[in-house]
Amino acid sequence: MSARRVLITGVSTYWGGRLAQALERDRSVEAIIGVSPDDPTCELDRTEFVRVGTQHALLRRIVRAAEIDTVVDTRLIVDSVTAPPRAAHENNVIGTMNVLAACGGADSPVRKVIVKSSAHYYGSERDDPAFFTEEMERPHPPRTALEKDVVEAERAVEAFATRNPGITVTVLRFANALGPDLRTSHTALLGLPAVPSILGFDPRYQFIHEDDLHGALEHAARHTLPGVYNAAGDGVLALSEVASLLGKPLAPVLPPWGTGLAAGAMRALRVRIPPEMLQQLRYGRGIDNRRLKAAGYVFRATSREAVLALARHLRTRAITDGDPGYRYEREVEEFLRWSPSVRESDRLGLERLSPEQLSELARALDSLPGGRPER
């Protein structure tokens, strides 16, 4: 079943925003509703943005009022630098439960739930296999708070899938993402003049290009992919290989013993290495992407090409820096969408909708608490 009426949670994240943009181009998708507590960071055309927290009662009303058939959950925090542990737990575990609760129920219109997860589910340990497949469990219990949250969130999704056999549940476990527009701990680390590493270790690293992030989510939205899928570009690189692709030296500044302390000291130099990344810098990780390929997805870039794309961006960064890019202006968006003074040809997105769909959308918005979103 291809998605027709889609709700994207976490539309303010890079992942959610790019997915919304990709779905906007598809005419067979009638409605795209993006929800998030924060402003969108990608320019959206016909996606309706609704600012909500993670309270499931509100989400449930939106899902039912807009007759959503596909929910794509892109909220998961996969980088512990971006949020304090409490907030990350709240978002990753409690938030996931709330989103799932909003999708479930006997009279729910939802037929498909797609969850963005992370290869942090597998962790990174000495005793790991070289390539994790989807049914493998990590050999040891999670070490870091972030990994614990990811595992817990996936447990909730698994339980949801067994309780709701009528809903197709897809879990995509993404490898570390790289690309020109993405800001993560890894892009920050690889952007340094030399790539820091742990003395005596050259871990195996697998990446996914930013275009494949929303590519894989979109593929899951278009087709029926029940179950868990690893998403990572072909090829596993050694960290030294990554550094040489970037044209940078590898700097083994972290000692093999007392690595955590040294990483703490590096924070004084404004280099933040989160604990889950320290594990990866020591043992590395590879995941087997063949199930997703067998399900028909064709990756646009290999791990190596993802690193090369980042390398191109890093070389031009000094020149393009200071470019603010897109900034969400609520009033302008509202004006372009709703004001009668706007010419039909300039109206955001809505000209593609039929009058019935428009009135339906208006009804959906009116049914929200407090009527149409206001400041």
Partner: protein, 286 residues
């Protein structure tokens, strides 16, 4: 409905082998972390010297190594820092009509120890995880070498040389059978004398975090020189392959049967080792 969305979902192919990553010609490191450059450098220098001049390796039965397809090589293991794995790999490179890379399975310990983790991976070591062995044998159709004795083989003292230890719990037989590849037993003589272990020091083992801490004729009192091998004569004998395709279905869950086959292979290697020792006149000259 757009034309794209109307297309049926692509038929999934069941065989994971169809979806292996394509080879990227610009890369010189494999997905397993093996470095063509470093492996080649070590091979042309140290291994070349040891193979031809120091150990003067003599190889028999190289034709038992299949020229195509996966195969699991199983050998006896001995000596404190055993050179047997790299000599077997070199033998296939030098003597075989169709030289192929050999993947050496190593203890997980190596992945966790600084420098060793880098070096062992770069020259072709793969952690001995069943999933790794299966992917190499079944999906990638490669040659894999295992030492079922593991550290039990290398930590044994000189007085116990060439007495093969227990061959694990038959895990390697199961790995080969699940992958549907033959087992090629290999008997190696010379490794035990190249770096004999006189004693094991438990305290130093714990302090250094190594898998064992051996005292050899040169180590640790000569420091780094202790890593030098004595010039024992090497003989490597590849034995006729043992087919595993008769093992299928329920037989794979029969631990007793797997253990029996493992013991049979161990017995064959032990017999061949004794046969080679019986023929040699001198440890050093052969």
């Amino acid at each position: 409905m757009s034309a794209r969305a109307a297309l049926p979902a692509p038929a999934p192919s069941d065989d994971p082998r169809h979806h292996l990553p394509a080879i990227e010609p610009d890369r010189r490191i494999s997905d397993w972390g093996r470095s063509e450059r470093i492996e080649g450098l070590v091979d042309r220098t140290l291994v070349e010297f040891l193979y031809h001049y120091w150990f003067r390796c003599e190889v028999e039965g190289i034709e038992h190594v299949p020229p195509t397809g996966g195969a699991l090589l199983v050998a006896n293991h001995g000596g404190a820092l055993p050179p047997d794995a790299s000599m077997i790999a070199k033998a296939i490179k030098e003597e075989h009509s169709r030289p192929r890379p050999l993947h050496l399975t190593v203890e997980h310990f190596f992945k966790g120890y600084p420098f060793l983790s880098m070096f062992v991976t770069k020259i072709g070591g793969v952690p001995a995880h069943p999933a790794n062995v299966h992917r190499l044998l079944h999906d990638e159709q490669q040659l894999v070498l295992v030492f079922p004795e593991g550290a039990k083989g290398t930590e044994k003292l000189f007085k116990d040389r060439y007495k093969l230890r227990r061959f694990g719990r038959g895990g390697f037989v199961e790995a080969a059978a699940r992958a549907g590849v033959p087992i090629v037993p290999v008997a190696v003589v010379g490794a035990e004398e190249a770096m004999p272990t006189i004693a094991q020091v438990g305290l130093l083992k714990r302090l250094t975090g190594l898998i064992y801490f051996p005292i050899t004729p040169l180590f640790p009192h000569l420091g780094l020189l202790g890593a030098a091998y004595l010039p024992a004569k090497f003989r490597i004998r590849f034995l006729p392959p043992v087919r595993t395709d008769r093992l299928a279905g329920e037989a794979l869950d029969d631990r007793g049967l797997l253990q029996e086959i493992a013991d049979e292979i161990r017995g064959r290697i032990q017999d061949e080792v004794l046969d080679i020792i019986g023929d040699r006149r001198s440890v050093w000259l052969g």
